[in-house]
Symmetry: C2
Subunit: 566 residues, 2 copies
Amino acid sequence: MSEESRSRSTSKSPLFTKEGEPNGCVMAVTNSNGVVQALLTDLYQITMAYAYWKSGKMDEPAVFDLYFRKNPFQGEFTIFAGLEECVKLLQTFHFSESDVAYLKSVLPATTDPGFFTYLRTLSAKEITLSAIPEGDVVFPKVPLITVTGPLAVAQLLETPLLNLVNYASLVATNAARFRLAAGPEKILLEFGLRRAQGPDGGLSASRYCYLGGFDGSSNVLAGKMFGIPVKGTHAHAYVTSFVSLDEIQDKMLTTVDGQKEVDFVSLCKKYSLELAEVLDYLPDQIMEGELAAFLSYAKAFPQSFLALIDTYDVIKSGLPNFCAVAMALSDLGYRPQGVRLDSGDLSYLSNYVHSKFCKVAAKYNLPWFEKMTIVASNDINEETIHSLNQQGHTISCYGIGTHLVTCQKQPALGCVFKLVEVNGKARIKLSEDVEKVTVPGKKNVFRLYGTDGTALVDLLQQVSEPPPKKGQRVLCRHPIQESKRAYVIPAEVKCLHEVYWEKGEVRKPLPTLTELRAKASESLAALRQDHKRTLNPTPYKVSVSSALYTFIHELWLESAPIGELS
Amino acid sequence: MSEESRSRSTSKSPLFTKEGEPNGCVMAVTNSNGVVQALLTDLYQITMAYAYWKSGKMDEPAVFDLYFRKNPFQGEFTIFAGLEECVKLLQTFHFSESDVAYLKSVLPATTDPGFFTYLRTLSAKEITLSAIPEGDVVFPKVPLITVTGPLAVAQLLETPLLNLVNYASLVATNAARFRLAAGPEKILLEFGLRRAQGPDGGLSASRYCYLGGFDGSSNVLAGKMFGIPVKGTHAHAYVTSFVSLDEIQDKMLTTVDGQKEVDFVSLCKKYSLELAEVLDYLPDQIMEGELAAFLSYAKAFPQSFLALIDTYDVIKSGLPNFCAVAMALSDLGYRPQGVRLDSGDLSYLSNYVHSKFCKVAAKYNLPWFEKMTIVASNDINEETIHSLNQQGHTISCYGIGTHLVTCQKQPALGCVFKLVEVNGKARIKLSEDVEKVTVPGKKNVFRLYGTDGTALVDLLQQVSEPPPKKGQRVLCRHPIQESKRAYVIPAEVKCLHEVYWEKGEVRKPLPTLTELRAKASESLAALRQDHKRTLNPTPYKVSVSSALYTFIHELWLESAPIGELS
C-alpha cells in the first residue's frame, strides 16, 4: 500500500477521529460507583447500532450467547466469574450527553441526527440476562450468559460483557488450578499488583483470585473495596536500609503482658551469639544491618513477626538473624510467625530452614518453633508447585504474582458473544473450523449428575423441549460428530441458567465474594478428579439433545453454499 | 501444615483483615480525575512505612531506582511508557480519611496511633522524580525512574509506580514490534478490549499501543479519553441478523451529490448477477441475508463502506456480495473502503480478493477498485505478520487483539524498584544470580552516539564524576564481568534523565500522546537495525564507568558473607 493510498484511507474514513488531543475531559474508566461505562466498547458496536437503527431493525427481539470454545491452561474446566459486574453494568447502562457528543464527532457527518436522540434514550430496561451462577465450574460451548432483548441494545453489550467475563474467569480458573496444585492446606496469597495490566487489572486479579480459592492478597485497595484479607511483611529494601545496630534509637521492647520493658537489642545480640552453635553459623559472618532491620521490624510487629531472609545469604545470615530475633521475642512472650524466601532453591532452602527450626525447638523446648510459617515467593507457577511437591518441601504459604495475574501459561480466555436468534428465528455462524460453528437458537442448559453426586455431562436443549428428568434415560449427542452418542440416566438434574436481570431490575440476590469463593470450591469438588488432573485430563462432555442435533445440522446445510470440485 | 495450624496462622495474624464484606464503600480504582489512588499498593509498603516510622528512619533521604533486567519478547529493546501517569500519581498522592480508617482495621491493634496521624500528613511534596523521557527506547539495568526523598514516602511509591510502568512499557514495546514487523506503510489497529485484564487493562492497552506505533483502536472510551483515532465496522452478528432482501424497508439511496434517489436494492441485485461472470461465482450460491446486511450497512455508511466477508464463505458469497454493493455505491458516486477477513488462510484469501478487485477495476475501468483496503483480523501475532510477509499477501491493515494486549509471548515486564542509597550511603542487594545484583548509589545515565547518529552504548556513572564529553575517549565497562571493557569516542552525548517532579511541582511539560508516539518512533529509528531484528538481535550495551565498576565490586565484597568450603 503506497503512502498516498494510506494517507487517503486514513483521512478519508469518517470513522477515524481527529488525532491528537483528547476530548477535553479527564475521566475514569468506571463511574463513581465503580461500574463500567457504556462507552467502554468497540466502535463497531456503535456503527452496527446505527445500521440496525437505520434499517429499522434495532428493536427486533434477539438472543445472544456468551461462551468460550476451549478451556484454558490445557485443562478441562473453567470457573465462571465476572457476572456481578455484568449485572451492575446493566443497572447503569446509558450514554451520557458527553458520550453522545463524542460519538457525533466520530461518526460520519452524514449520520442521521435521529440516531443520537435514540442513543440518549437507550437503557438495558428491555434486556433479560440469564446466566449460570458466578463461581460455578463451566465448560466449552455452554452459554455462560444469554442476553435477550432489542437487537441493537443486546449488540451494544457485547464488548463490555466480554471484557468483564473473559479475564475474571481466566484468572479465577488460574487461581483454582494453583489451589489444586498446592492442596487445601497451604495458604495462597496473590502478590501480582505490580505486574498486572494497569491499576484495574491488578484489582480484578485480586478479586477473582480470591474467588478462585486464594486466601488473600497484598493489594490494599482490593482489601478495602472487596473485603479480601490483605497480607504482607517487608521487602529487601527494608533490610538494605539498615547497616548497623547503632541505628536502633529505642532499644527497649515491652513484654507481651505489658509488665516489663526489656533491652531488646542486647537480647537479640545475646541470641545471635548463642545460636551460632545450635545452627552452625559463624557469628562474624552475619550481616549486622540485616539483624538491625529484623529487630526493628519485630519491634514494630512483635505479634506477627515474619522476616524476608534472603537479602544477603539465607544460611549464613538471614536465618541466623531471624532465629535470634525470634528467640528474643519468645523470651518476651511473643510468638513470631516465620520467614519468607524469595530466591534460590525453594525445596532445599525450605527444608534447611525447617530443620534448623526443629533444632531450636528441641534445644529450647519450644514446639511451636518448628511449626512456624515458611512463605515462598519467587516467580512461582503451577509447575513449580507440582515440582516442589515431588521434591519435598516445608513451605506452608505461597505468595504468587506474575504467573498468577498475567496467566502466563495462557493469557486470554476466548469468550465470544454470538447471535443465535432474531425475531424468533435461529441463526448460525459457520466457519471453516467446525468447532467454531455456533449452536443456533435459544437454549436451556442442564447439568446431569451421577449417583455419587459428581457431574456427568452438560446438556443443551431447545427451549421447546421438556427438561430431562432424574431417573429417566436421556440421549446425549455430540453437537457435531454424528456417531458420538450416549444414554445417560441422571440421578439429579440441575437447570444451570437463572434470570439475573429482567424488566430493569436485578432478579436474584448477588452473592458476596466470600459466598462466590465457597461456590467455586463446592462446584469444583463435584467435578470428577480425572477432569481436574494436570496431565492429560479427561474432557468433560458437553452434549446436545437429539432434537437440537437435528436442528443444528439442518440449519447448517441451509446456510452453507454448496462447494464445487474443480 | 495441619488444618489447625493453618487456621491458627490465618486468624492469629493481625495482618489479615476480617474476611467477607467490603468496607462499606463501593469505589473506583482511580479518583475522579482518573489518577491512581495511594492505596493501590502492596500491604508490605504500609507495614514497612510503619516500621520505618517506628524506628525514626522515615525521613532519612533515600534513593530508589526503577529498572528492568531483561528486554521482553526475546528482543533487545524496550519502549519506556507510563511516566505521565507516575507524575500524576505524585500530584495527588495522599491517604484519605477512609483509607486511614481502613488501614487502622488492617494493622495490629497495638499499632502506635501516631502513625495514623503521620499517614494523614503524607504527600509527595518532598519527593524528586527524575526519569528518562516517556517514549524513549530503553535497556536493561538503566534506571528508567529515580525517586529521591524521605525513605518511607519513596518506599510507598514502589507498587503504584511499578504497576503504572510495567504493563505500559510492555505493551508499547509489543506494539512497536508489531509495527517493525508490518512495516511503516500498513495500518495497525488495536482490537483487544474484550481480551484485556478488565476495563482499565483495555484502556491502558489502547493508550500504550498507540504510543508504540499503532494507528488507532476499536476502544471508544480510549478515543474519548485520549484522543486516539477509533475505528471499526461490523461483526458477524450483523450479517447473520439478516436473512432476506425483503428486510430492507427503505430501498432508496441518494447519490453522493444529493441530486437523485436511486433504488439501491435493485442496483445491488443487478450487479450481483452481472459480476458472476467477472468474478466466476454462482449467483444462486450467494447468501441473500449477507447481501441484505452489506446493502443495509452501505446505506448507513455510504462514504466509508467496509464489510466483513467471511461469515459464510469468502469466495462463494462474501466477496461477490461485497463487490455487488461496492459497484452499486460507485454508480452513485461513493467510494467504498474495502473488506475485512477474520478467518482462513490470510495470505491466500487476501491475494484472491485482490485479484478479483483487479478484475473488477479492469472490467469497469475503476482503478481505485484494486486499491481498496483489505483488513485482516484473525488472532494475529508478530510471527503471523512475518510469515505473511514471506508468503506474500495484499493485506493493507491489521486489526490485532489478544496477542497484542495480553502480550501472549511474554505477559509481564519485570520492572523492579530497588533501594540504592540511604543517608548518602550506597546500598547493594546481592543475589545468587549475579545478574540480579543492584548497581548501588545515585547515578547519572548517558547515551553515547556514533557519527551516524545511532546509539552506541548507555553509560552509568556515579553522580560525582564529570560527564563524558563528545570527541573524548571514555572507558565503558561491563558492570559485572571484569574483562569486558571498551573505549568509546562518542560523536554526541545525551544525559538521559530529566527532573519531572520536584518540590511538589511538575517540572517538565508532559507531552501529548501524539508527541509521545512520535518520540517512540524517532527513538527507535536511532537504534541500529541489528538490535531490532527478530532473530538473534544483537544486545545493546549498557556499561558503567571505571569508577562505578570499582565501587560496585568493593561494596559487593563488603556485603557478602565469606563462603566456606565443606
